[in-house]
């Protein structure tokens, strides 16, 4: 393992443990909600950034992918009759109530990721020949189409919504919601690890080339359509995985909540504010913006609508004065303070 990998994995492990024990020591409740909310946005904005930040393709369909994940959980709960189940008989083994969550959660995340990933692949295949604003409009349309389907699909609750009653007891956890938080922490870490891996990989390099000049990238050997499809699929899958955990936490899902415009706006604003060229950008943006929104929301200082207005204003501000986000500002400041060390020395002449 390389030193940088060791540092990254240590950061993830320590960060996860610290967050979990902090929330537990504070008694869960409101703090648990704040932590879940922020982590959910770290996942969504990290997922959005894979296509939007690295590849330069602005996806306005985050809410659609998220909702598909959420509704896949609702769908399977109804399909397999999992509501209020006391034990699960798999034929070769019987799983009792305290252990049901260990089956439900990974299965829900997998299903949510699978459906949203496939939706991403399909959407990408249909829309990625479009460029710029046309692609964005197509993704927005996708969200509206998905919402219309859900609203008119009574099996998953239609416009009224549906309840998802998760197991009330989880082995090893005194509060079942702490287990939901734990699952969200794991998903967040996975998202960050995937984003970082992409950033350092051939896929990341290709996406960055596409972002800067797609024709030029294609003429440099980058299989642009294939990479964009990969990015849309991964991005969609992560958004869906985030959505799949949502019903377990809120226990009730309706189209207005699942397809909330805030998911789309925040998932764009957070990487934009944090910085879109590095995996830490969405993490910083989602943490800052998420905490601020929760704080002012809890004090009744701002309504959710007002919160969106402020986010929109911040987005305009950052686009105008700091298009590279807070990370870009920090880099610029560092360059000014250390003009020599900030500029890497040129490599030595290679041997022939």
């Amino acid at each position: 393992m390389k030193t940088s990998d060791f540092g990254f994995h240590s950061f993830l492990a320590l960060g996860s443990l610290a967050l979990f024990f902090l929330v537990q020591s504070l008694g869960g409740g409101y703090y648990l909600l704040v932590a879940f909310y922020v982590l959910q946005y770290v996942v969504l904005s990290t997922a959005w950034n894979i296509l939007g930040g690295y590849g330069g393709y602005v996806n306005f369909g985050t809410a659609g992918f998220f909702a598909v994940g959420a509704y896949s959980t609702v769908f399977f709960f109804k399909l397999f009759g999992l509501q209020n189940l006391k034990q699960l008989d798999l034929g070769f083994i019987e799983i009792s109530l305290p252990y049901l969550s260990f089956i439900y959660f990974p299965a829900a995340v997998f299903a949510g990721a699978l459906f949203s990933g496939l939706l991403g692949l399909g959407t990408g295949y249909l829309t990625l020949r479009l460029r710029g604003v046309y692609f964005s409009i197509a993704t927005l349309a996708l969200s509206i189409v998905a919402m219309t389907i859900v609203v008119n699909w009574s099996y998953v609750g239609g416009a009224r919504g549906a309840f998802v009653i998760k197991p009330t007891v989880v082995a090893g956890f005194k509060d079942a919601n702490l287990f939901v938080l734990c699952a969200m922490i794991l998903l967040t870490m996975l998202s960050l690890a995937i984003a970082r891996r992409i950033e350092q990989s051939k896929l990341g390099a290709g996406l960055q080339a596409i972002r800067d000049d797609e024709d030029s990238a294609e003429c440099s050997g980058v299989p642009t359509l294939r990479l964009k499809l990969q990015a849309t699929t991964i991005s969609g899958a992560l958004m869906g995985a985030g959505g799949a955990l949502f019903p377990f936490f809120v226990t009730y899902v309706d189209p207005i909540g699942a397809f909330n415009l805030a998911h789309t706006v925040n998932s764009i604003a957070m990487p934009l504010i944090g910085g879109m060229t590095h995996w830490t950008g969405p993490l910083i943006g989602a943490t800052l913006l998420g905490l601020i929104q929760q704080y002012f929301g809890s004090k009744n200082i701002i309504t959710p609508e007002m919160s969106l207005l402020i986010v929109g204003f911040l987005m305009m501000l950052f686009v105008a004065i700091a298009p590279n986000g807070l990370l870009g500002l920090l880099k610029r400041k560092h360059k000014k303070a250390h003009p020599i060390s900030a500029t890497r020395s040129a490599p030595e002449k290679p041997s022939q």
């Binding site: 800067d212 024709d215 030029s216 003429c219 440099s220 980058v222 290679p350």
Partner: protein, 247 residues
């Protein structure tokens, strides 16, 4: 492919934009290691020819065979994998990436196909630095591409094209807008690349450099080929003199 076979065989290439015929049955060949000049007045179809050859736009009829294989319908990146690379008339760098990263892109994606094996990260870096050294940009390897001067952008275009390890390089007006001494620098660079065995199609308006560089000329006018032959003979051709040189 046998030595006597042309590297590139363009046969009856045609392209229309609506009712406007941009290319009309253009045919020519490029032999391995050859230096070919593709010239013609503005609007003669040179850039469309380059775009059709590289796959950026699809031609309507005719065929393009490269190294004995039909390229018709292949996407641009697949043509690069087969050894056909191009530079752009107006430099189109990956402006937010560093100069070195700009070169790493074709090495990561195309060079592997050219050498038929996967390349290790260190190997890619070494090859990228070598390509930059070849064009004299090594000292600027860590700079962001958007900070480069016009001549350095031209060099970067060429370095990125050659990083794909091509058999044929199409240099689309690589000297446009450069001072005379800078043009000479690019010209020398193209000669150096050709000495490594890369066939080059030079599209250029500067007749001094076209004459110095090209072994053979293909002349286009109004989308049609009007002449094809040894440089000196073509430049003395009365039709070329009248249509292109305005003599």
């Amino acid at each position: 492919m046998s030595e006597s076979q042309p590297l590139l065989n363009v046969n009856g290439l045609s392209k229309r934009f609506g009712g406007f015929v941009v290319l009309d049955e253009v045919s020519f060949v490029v032999n391995p290691g050859e230096r070919l000049g593709l010239i013609g007045p503005n609007g003669s179809g040179k850039s469309t020819t380059v775009n059709c050859l590289s796959g950026v736009i699809a031609h309507d009829s005719g065929s393009i065979r490269f190294n004995g294989e039909a390229l018709d319908g292949l996407k641009p990146h697949l043509r690069v994998y087969r050894g056909l690379a191009r530079s752009f008339q107006i430099p189109r760098p990956f402006s937010r990436l560093s100069v070195l990263e700009n070169i790493r892109v074709p090495l990561m994606f195309a060079a592997e196909h050219r050498v038929n094996r996967s390349l290790h990260r260190d190997e890619i870096n070494t090859m990228a630095e070598r390509a930059l050294d070849q064009v004299g940009l090594l000292a600027r390897a860590s700079d962001t591409a958007s900070t480069l001067t016009q001549i350095d952008l031209r060099k970067l275009e060429l370095a990125r094209a050659i990083a794909a390890q091509p058999k044929l390089l199409i240099a689309d007006e690589s000297m446009a807008g450069l001072a005379s001494s800078e043009s000479d620098e690019i010209l020398e660079l193209l000669f150096e690349l050709n000495r490594t065995g890369i066939a080059i199609i030079m599209i250029e308006h500067i007749m001094r450099t076209v004459k110095a560089f090209s072994e053979r000329l293909v002349v286009l006018a109004n989308g049609r080929k009007i002449a094809d032959g040894p440089t000196d003979a073509i430049l003395r051709d009365p039709l070329v003199e009248r249509i292109y040189l305005g003599v």
